[in-house]
């Protein structure tokens, strides 16, 4: 991000804005969306494959046969975990991105870390990153429910494991991008001051 924007901002004499641009881009859009897509790839495929494998090997029937509600036992914790974990991972992603931006900028301009952080946050309001980070809970819900659906409902044996993993990633990713459009509009509606 920094590598791409630096030359343009320097041309217009706005090199000092690089940390701000970096922070805004990461906290508002790149961090939440990329974290969501990465989690859809890594965790979504995992949930889909594990549950489909449990279905194919009768482990889910085994749970039902023990009078345990397999939906509550297998699906609900995974969905809750995805909803809780994704905002935390997004924060990690945001700060990792910011750190990467600093390292890139440091090699070019030798800017100090304290100055970089001060410039990064001086134009950032709390609402700029609370709402976009909170929206990833919706992404987490999408990943959890979509992946669990494909894994839990498969009836294609071992072939269904691959199908569930692939479908979980593809459908989750598409729904995350679609949901992002609506959530950005919704955030602008509820917090108009966050519009850049």
């Amino acid at each position: 991000m920094t590598l791409h924007t630096r030359s343009t901002l320097v041309t217009f004499g706005a090199a000092a804005m690089i940390p701000t641009v970096q922070a805004l881009a990461f906290f508002v859009e790149i961090g939440p969306l990329v974290a969501g897509l990465l989690m859809a790839g890594r965790v979504g495929s995992g949930i889909g494959a594990v549950l489909a494998n449990m279905r194919a090997t009768e482990q889910i029937d085994g749970i039902e046969s023990l009078s345990i509600d397999s939906f509550k036992f297998l699906v609900v914790p995974r969905v809750v975990a995805a909803v809780v974990a994704l905002p935390l991972l997004t924060l990690f992603m945001d700060f990792a991105g910011l750190l990467g931006g600093f390292l890139s900028e440091f090699t070019s301009s030798k800017i100090s870390f304290a100055l970089y952080i001060r410039r990064a946050f001086e134009n950032l309001e709390l609402a700029n990153f609370v709402a976009p980070t909170a929206k990833t809970a919706v992404f987490g819900f999408i990943i959890g429910t979509v992946s669990a659906y494909f894994g839990y409902t498969t009836n294609r044996g071992s072939e269904g494991v691959g199908y569930a993993a692939t479908s979980s990633v593809v459908v989750s990713s598409l729904l995350i991008i679609l949901a992002d459009v609506f959530l950005v509009k919704f955030i602008f509606f509820v917090f108009p001051e966050t519009a850049l």
């Binding site: 449990m54 090997t57 482990q59 029937d61 749970i63 046969s65 023990l66």
Partner: protein, 246 residues
Amino acid sequence: MSTEAGAVTFQHVFKAFGPKQVLRDVSFQVQPGETLCILGRSGTGKSVTLKLLMALLKPDQGSIRVEQDDITCLNEKGLSKVRRKMGFLFQDAALFDSLTLYENLALPLRRLTEKTEEEINFAIDKVLGNVGLGGDKEKMPAALSGGMRKRAGLARALVLEPKILLADEPSSGLDRITASEIDELLLRQKAEYGTTILVVTHDIHGARRVGDRFAVFDKGDLVAFGEVGEIERSENETARRLVSEE
């Protein structure tokens, strides 16, 4: 068929998967403490019969009673109560592969009973000891051999002390000696606890050892039902051939 409540009663049960009719007008009754062996060629609805009984599948028509309860009319809460009376040994054991053998057995005890950890330990040690796996409780399912997995599956099916045990091909894929050990465990369970047992099997030697009566399925129909002598005198050739030891 007797009108008294047996341990298990199927009445005019039909089940189809798409265009394939798997069970057609199946009726039979199993008495408490009895062992019924279900025989038949592959794909004739034997395993489906057990899954219908455990309410893992729903029949298209007919009623299935477990003692007094018609499970086709029960909601999830009612089904859960009925399932507590039954244990299911799956064909491939269906152990949870992310849990150790101990945790596999502890799971239903922790979730469904009020037992303390000490009581759970005691119950697990007892049931694992009974199936000869006392020293293997910390192993993962992937580390168990085929025979050990079957015995572990049986231990999990028995850990809640069910009144009815359903076993889906308990000896498939096992050598004669290991299969015979599984049969011994079923016989001991019946003798010591009076458990009603329904066994789906292709092993006629084992079936003759453990079975009191036999149900023979062919192409979705229950073609013969009774003691081994009755099946041997059946008019149905498939039934006669299936119980033949030759």
